[in-house]
């Protein structure tokens, strides 16, 4: 069998139904094999778009997302998506064509050392040197991508090797990787110590992240949180793991989190971190972060534990394994129930004094926060929302109350503008029965706007709600607050007529500039068949608050 056909067989054996990609010289054999393959190929318009679509597919389902690209520029165009998948632990397999083996190292046409370029941003990578490796590497790539802490795996295949003839035997069982054995089961002694410490805590906070979503452990997390009157907060990656709104929900924490969540972290005596990594957007100034707290850190990746914040009770394991054990141990302790009353009194005080709020307009002007609230209502709070990066992303995180996991797909770690549209396309391919809305910024949307063609060609009816404020809003906000209002290169100046652009791509285009009409226009957009772009003109200079200025402590929150 031709190795490229064996590759398709291996993908089929891995359960692949959809792949995203773009053909080119070096992956022609693969595309020839796809001609007869059983999976659907979605033709992206830029490899970065293919990569983010694969991420959106994976984030919406937990299944491995797959993207193809050719050698050289095709592969380098994937790099941002690969790095993004690395930062957000997205299970993805990227398959790139490479120039013929006799050309490698000669600076051949469309040659780039892609395994070298991507080395720091992959969970693992394979450079095929023998065609017989191809199916084996594919199986290994899938295993590595989805197990333990998920991440991107690259398989780079020289063109001549994918044309070679090999014997294909379907793989059986877990691949043999002597250096790769993720520890999923938490140490029960550590879990017992954690339960006992928690039973003694007077000011505990549960701080969860994307690891809960990745582990499919939202149910287990909710059960654990329901054990006692624990206050719960989540990172931007974890939103949906705990149902918002909820009486013990503090809101998101971090740079644009709520005061209640950040102040609670600041005054906590014990913080239980589940599947999060104490990123700088969470901790702010590290030396002043949660100065009174002891830390229980649960993570499947041992290297995350004590990386930024030293853990007092480290627990290496998958949240799905650790949380039920921790729940059982805690329950057996019969902790004093009303010991958290005083703590809640303090938290309720912060919540009452500093709710999330904005000053709404008194005329027809649409405030961006209002737009998110309208979107929440129009979608019944039950859509899959993707976003780009910036103010609109933070407002969505604040005002769209995610109650289920895998409904909020955004680029949290790398912060990739242009993520939203291709991710929405991937999510809609994966979940055709769900409403998928990309909340885009006008700065971000143009960065991968070419993917509008992909949605039309493959009949993928995503909706884009464009929060159009005419600026790189978050950068503008920083220049206003921290750079003495010296606005440089933040006004968009010239943007396309979005309605006409939508129509030019074969989308429906709509516009709304009046607050009183927004909900209705949104409903119409959602009910319209096919892809729709809704250009919403919002306040140009609104700032996203509250905010911990970069490098400051929770106590320094402004706004």
């Amino acid at each position: 069998m031709r190795a490229a056909d064996a590759l398709c067989e291996a993908l089929k054996a891995e359960g692949v139904q959809h792949v995203f990609g773009i053909p080119g010289g070096a992956n022609l054999p693969l595309y020839d094999a796809i001609y007869d393959a059983d999976f659907e190929h979605v033709l992206a318009r830029h490899e970065q778009g293919a990569g983010h679509a694969a991420e959106g597919y994976a984030k919406a389902t937990g299944k491995v997302g797959v993207a193809f690209a050719t050698s050289g520029p095709g592969a380098t165009n994937l790099v941002t998506a690969i790095a993004d998948a690395m930062m957000d632990s997205v299970p993805t397999v990227f398959i790139t064509g490479q120039v013929r083996t006799d050309l490698i190292g000669t600076d051949g046409f469309q040659e780039a050392d892609v395994t070298g370029i991507t080395l720091p941003v992959v969970k693992h990578s394979f450079l095929v040197t023998d065609p017989r490796q191809i199916p084996d590497y594919i199986h290994k790539a899938f295993h590595i991508a989805k197990s333990g802490r998920p991440g991107p795996v690259l398989v780079d295949i020289p063109q001549d090797l994918s044309r070679a003839d090999i014997e294909y035997e379907p793989a059986t069982g877990t691949p043999d990787l002597p250096g790769y054995k993720p520890s999923l089961e938490g140490n029960i002694k550590q879990i017992r110590i954690a339960a006992k410490a928690l039973a003694n805590a007077r000011r505990p906070v549960i701080y969860g992240g994307g690891g809960i979503v990745n582990a499919e452990a939202s149910e287990e997390f909710r059960e654990f949180c329901a054990l006692d009157e624990f206050p719960v907060t989540l990172t931007v990656m974890g939103l949906g793991a705990f149902p918002a709104p909820h009486e013990r929900w503090l809101g998101m924490l971090g740079m644009h989190g709520t005061r209640a969540a950040n102040y609670a972290m600041d005054e906590a005596d014990l913080i239980v971190c589940v599947g999060a990594r104490f990123d700088d957007r969470i901790t702010g100034k590290l030396s002043e972060f949660a100065p009174r707290a002891k830390f229980i850190h649960i993570d499947v990746d041992p290297a995350e534990i004590s990386k930024n914040v030293p853990a007092h009770i480290p627990i290496v394991g998958d949240a799905k394994d650790v949380l039920p054990k921790l729940t059982r141990e805690y329950r057996a302790l019969k902790a004093e129930t009303d010991r958290l009353a005083e703590w809640w009194e303090r938290i309720r005080g912060w919540q009452a004094a500093h709710p999330l709020r904005y000053e709404d307009s008194t005329d027809s002007e649409i405030k961006p926060q209002f737009m998110v609230e309208a979107m929440y209502e129009a979608t019944g709070g039950d859509a899959i929302i993707t976003s780009d990066v910036g103010q609109h992303q933070m407002w969505a995180a604040q005002y769209y109350h995610f109650s289920k996991p895998r409904r909020w797909l955004n680029s949290g770690g790398l912060g990739t503008m242009g993520f939203g549209l291709p991710a929405a396309i991937g999510a809609k391919v994966a979940c055709p029965d769900d409403t998928v809305v990309c909340l885009a910024g006008d700065g971000s949307l143009v960065m991968n706007v070419q993917e509008m063609a992909t949605a039309v060609q493959h009949d993928i009816p995503v909706k884009v709600f464009l929060m159009n404020n005419g600026h790189f809003g978050m950068v503008r906000q920083w220049q206003e607050l921290f750079w003495e209002e010296r606005y440089q290169s933040v006004a968009m100046g010239s943007s396309p007529d979005w309605v006409k652009l939508a129509e030019a791509f074969g989308w429906s285009g709509m516009r709304c500039e009046d607050k009183s009409e927004l909900r209705d226009v949104m409903r119409t957009a959602l009910e319209t068949d096919g892809p729709v772009l809704l250009d919403v003109r919002v306040t140009q200079n609104e700032n996203c608050y509250p905010m911990i200025p970069a490098g400051h402590a929770a106590r320094d929150m402004v706004g």
């Binding site: 070298g116 080395l119 969970k123 450079l127 017992r192 006992k196 003694n200 830390f295 041992p302 030293p310």
Partner: protein, 184 residues
């Protein structure tokens, strides 16, 4: 309750986070898959995470599919625990051992080309004898000496010959192996 090893009550004030800096030199011995690019992954990891390798030695093991990478790092500067955990994430790294100083035989080899004009040639040769070193090359004005031993021994040899004019020095970096139990 009453599980062995854990008290019934864990007081928060008694909890300690482990100290991340050990303050001493560490020898990490890695068994890695003998495949192209493995060293690049290790080197890339060190540069990306800002870890500084003092010495690095790579070579085959008794198993042709497996190579050994021995590296030394300063535990006063780097959290060794974090370094090992990051290394463990590399799929090609099979095993890592943080070598216990007391249970380890560590050796390094070095070549020194030293100024050895007639008036100090004797002294250099004496040093070589004291350090159990070999003279492997001779010219009219220089001697090349091969020294094998612990890092400290090679450091002291360097200190001895440097005043005479050290022209060139090449060191391999330490390789290490655990000591066998006496009854093994």
């Amino acid at each position: 309750m009453g599980e062995p090893g854990t008290p019934d009550l864990v007081k928060l004030e008694d909890l300690e986070a482990s100290n991340v800096l050990t303050g001493r030199k560490h020898i990490l011995s890695l068994l890695v898959e003998n495949q192209p690019g493995v060293l690049a992954r290790i080197a890339g990891l060190f540069s990306r995470r800002g870890f500084n390798i003092d010495t690095l030695a790579v070579g085959p093991t008794e198993d042709p599919d497996i190579s050994r990478v021995t590296l030394t790092l300063d535990g006063a500067v780097h959290p060794i625990d974090q370094v090992t955990k990051q290394l463990h994430k590399l799929v090609n790294v099979i095993k890592i051992r943080d070598m216990e100083p007391d249970g380890t035989v560590a050796r390094e080899m070095a070549l020194f080309r030293v100024n050895a004009a007639v008036e100090n040639r004797g002294e250099i040769m004496q040093f070589a004898e004291i350090f159990d070193a070999k003279i492997v090359d001779v010219s009219r004005r220089t001697l090349t000496v091969e020294v094998t031993g612990s890092q400290d021994k090679i450091d002291s040899f360097e200190r001895m010959v440097r005043p005479h004019g050290l022209i060139e020095m090449a060191r391999t970096g330490e390789v290490a192996i655990t000591k066998a139990r006496p009854d093994a």
